[in-house]
């Protein structure tokens, strides 16, 4: 973002035109009027083709990138802007890293309302400020009408893993405990409820949130007992548990009755014939912890606003076939499988 002789004059009642991505004065105006004020910070203000930042201390770097194509762009409890900030902060932080810096790349479809673009930029800025993780560099492109769907956002994040911490998906061992930070399915159901053709009245809001504060409290409480953390986004809890089982070469047994699901989410899933275990979340995490650290971890999580409903949901076991099994609340057993096919496209 390096506008040269731009003036912040832009009529927000208009629409994005191809010239807004052409590298000329219109593009500079777009950046100056919409993105710069929304995301302002000292690194972004350097105005070069890259941002140069200090490394705040010792440790290893963690980096992650993610694309956001959610439909609709605005949904109950969030929008594509805040989602793009939260999602990447979480991906970086789940390594135990302190997230430090973000980059943002926005691809805009010709004809997109400028007012909506400003709303999205403001939402990104608010999420970034609230999390204390600045967007230090960015880019915008405009593509012809029909070549994108409104706005696509790609973000990347950098963080610093403190010395001595080593979390990884292959570290679950038989006997370890599986802890979930809160109720599942909120994000997916919030998106579903606002989809065209499927609108239904619900009070469910997306759980989209930055989890690095909760994660810092978890690292402080459980330290080396913590084996790994994952966020159950697309594919839900079911996919994430299967990933862990495969990566660590173990089995997992969970208790259905221990998994928090909001009654409204359970009701919507019932109505739509979908399993809450496969519905996406954007503000929840799963931790695998040595039994010695499980109680301290649970207590620390429950003391944090984003982990109040944290629950011990299962145990890692030995299983050559790496099955995730569940004791149903009804008293039987069953497999928790990956979602087959596609439940819902473009959930994040």
């Amino acid at each position: 973002m390096s506008p040269r002789d731009a003036k912040p004059r832009l009529d927000l009642s208009g629409r994005v035109e191809m010239t807004h991505g052409a590298g000329g004065r219109a593009m500079a105006q777009l950046i100056e009027a919409i993105f710069k004020p929304a995301l302002a910070n000292d690194f972004l203000a350097q105005g070069n083709d890259q941002a140069v930042m200090p490394l705040p201390g010792p440790g290893r770097l963690a980096m992650s990138t993610d694309g956001y194509v959610v439909s609709p762009l605005f949904f109950p409890g969030g929008d594509i802007g805040s989602l793009a900030i939260h999602g990447t902060i979480n991906d970086v932080a789940l390594s135990g890293a302190v997230p430090l810096y973000l980059s943002v790349s926005v691809i805009i479809e010709e004809g997109f309302p400028l007012a909506d673009l400003a709303r999205i930029a403001d939402s990104m800025g608010a999420a970034s400020r609230a999390a204390g993780v600045p967007v230090v560099t960015g880019d915008t492109k405009v593509v012809e009408r029909g070549k994108a769907d409104g706005v696509f956002i790609s973000t990347a994040g950098l963080g610093l893993v403190p010395p001595g911490l080593d979390l990884s998906g292959d570290r679950a061992r038989p006997g370890d405990r599986v802890i979930l930070s809160g109720s599942i399915g909120d994000h997916g159901i919030a998106i579903l409820s606002s989809r065209e053709n499927l609108e239904f009245e619900t009070a469910i809001l997306s759980d989209s949130a930055a989890l690095h504060g909760l994660i810092a409290a978890m690292v402080a409480a459980a330290g080396p007992h913590l084996k790994l953390m994952r966020d159950p986004t697309r594919g839900g809890l079911a996919a994430t548990l299967n990933e862990i089982a495969n990566q660590s070469g173990v089995g997992i047994v969970i208790e259905e009755a221990a998994i928090p699901v909001k009654p409204q989410v359970a009701a919507a899933c019932e109505l739509l014939g979908i399993d809450p275990l496969t519905v996406a979340n954007e503000g929840k995490l799963i931790a695998v912890v040595d039994p010695a650290g499980a109680e301290a971890l649970l207590a620390a999580m429950r003391a944090h606003p984003l982990g109040r409903e944290a629950a011990l949901i299962g145990t890692i076991g030995e299983d050559d076939q790496h099955f995730v099994q569940m004791r149903t609340a009804f008293g039987g057993g069953r497999i928790v499988d990956w979602l087959a096919g596609e439940q819902l496209p473009r959930i994040c």
Partner: protein, 380 residues
């Protein structure tokens, strides 16, 4: 949800399971077919088989509309969707259903056909109203529960004067399929014998419990009509165990909160004004059955895609290794099919029973495959 959770109570389940264990005679066998895919799904999802004693065996029946649709009809739908000007509206499950050469509506859509997933028949009517330049065809499938909504869609299209809405009708009738299974079993075609039926839930709310009278009167098979919740199924199992122990063969209704002897007369009347039985309709696994499928009456021919677009159904064979047919008759268990879990999985289904979550193979694969050795032991 409170109302639903009451039918999933673990403590009540343990009580019912204990009663079944106490009353089931270890020297007898209780081979009970749950006709409906809805029951199959509930049984697998709640791990119900873990609660039943060895003499009680549940056999998964053909009551999954996606599963019994023959390959020739899927091919016909794919060809129809590929025609210029046509928009095919379908329920999601049908998208992945394999036609000949593992073709599917999903692949046809990727190749450019205008195929849209809808959640209700009325969504298809709304598309027809919104896009008058398109010929909108609704891919109508299902048992007696889904026929009334199709009839409502046609009535809606008629009242709104839509001339670009029609249906590709594949509605089928439950009693005809049950009769085919009992007569097949009686003839010992596959060596499978069934001692009783867990009768359909939603279908029975429409057609009524008396529709199964022939099972008891002609074939001496007891029926317990059950709701789709896991406690409903357990209670129906107990009712059937008691009937078999006492040598009774009656039509009993566990699902009394919704099923009456004569069913929903209003829905039946609406369907009867628009639909008539086909002389014969092909079912996967059961073959061509007389009076088992419905078509639109001549007075409604303008809503019949088969007439309007001269849709031709060319009979096509199932994949040679696929055991869906025998599985749908209850003669084989999913894990006895050599394709099960090898080249046929829910991600890449070869047979229809692996597509729908109500299909026996998909239910076994998705929920029960950890139980495989035990299942093989009891299936002998």
């Amino acid at each position: 949800m409170k109302h639903v959770e009451e039918y999933r109570d673990g403590a009540l389940a343990q009580g019912l399971a204990a009663a079944i264990r106490a009353e089931a005679d270890p020297a007898r066998s209780y081979r009970l077919m749950e006709f409906c895919g809805g029951h199959t799904h509930a049984i697998a999802r709640y791990g119900l088989e873990d609660l039943l004693p060895p003499p009680v065996r549940l056999i998964h029946g053909p009551g999954c509309p996606v599963c019994v649709l023959p390959v020739g009809r899927i091919d016909a739908a794919i060809r129809l969707a590929a025609r210029p000007g046509i928009t095919l509206c379908t329920y999601g499950d049908l998208m992945r259903l394999p036609g000949s050469n593992r073709d599917s509506l999903l692949k046809a859509k990727a190749a450019g056909a205008d195929i849209r997933m809808v959640y209700s028949t009325l969504d298809a009517v709304a598309i027809a109203a919104r896009e008058p330049e398109r010929e909108v065809v609704f891919f109508a499938i299902g048992f007696e529960t889904t026929t009334p909504p199709t009839a409502v869609a046609i009535r809606e299209a008629e009242q709104n004067g839509l001339t670009n809405f029609s249906i590709f009708c594949n509605h089928v009738l439950t009693p005809a399929a049950i009769r085919a299974i009992v007569t097949g079993a009686e003839a010992a075609r596959d060596g499978v014998a069934i001692d009783g039926f867990i009768g359909p839930a939603h279908v029975s709310t429409v057609i009524g419990s008396e529709a199964y009278r022939f099972c008891a009167d002609e074939f001496a098979k007891p029926v317990a009509i059950a709701g789709f919740e896991p406690l409903d199924v357990l209670q129906a199992v107990l009712m059937l165990v008691r009937q078999i122990n006492q040598g009774r063969h009656e039509i009993e209704t566990q699902y009394i909160r919704a099923v009456t002897p004569t069913g929903n007369r209003k829905a039946q009347a609406l369907v009867a004004t628009m639909f008539e039985p086909r002389p014969s309709f092909e079912w996967r696994g059961l073959g061509a059955l007389p009076d088992s499928g419905l078509r639109l009456r001549p007075a409604f021919a303008r809503f019949d895609a088969e007439t309007r677009f001269e849709v031709e159904t060319v009979p096509a064979p199932d994949h040679p290794g696929c055991a869906c047919g025998t599985i749908l008759r209850g003669a084989k268990r999913p894990e006895q099919c050599k394709l099960f879990g090898t080249i046929c999985t829910p991600d890449s289904p070869v047979g229809a029973c692996m597509v729908s979550s109500e299909g026996a193979c998909a239910a076994q694969w998705s929920y029960g495959r950890f139980r495989r050795p035990a299942a093989e032991r009891v299936s002998a």
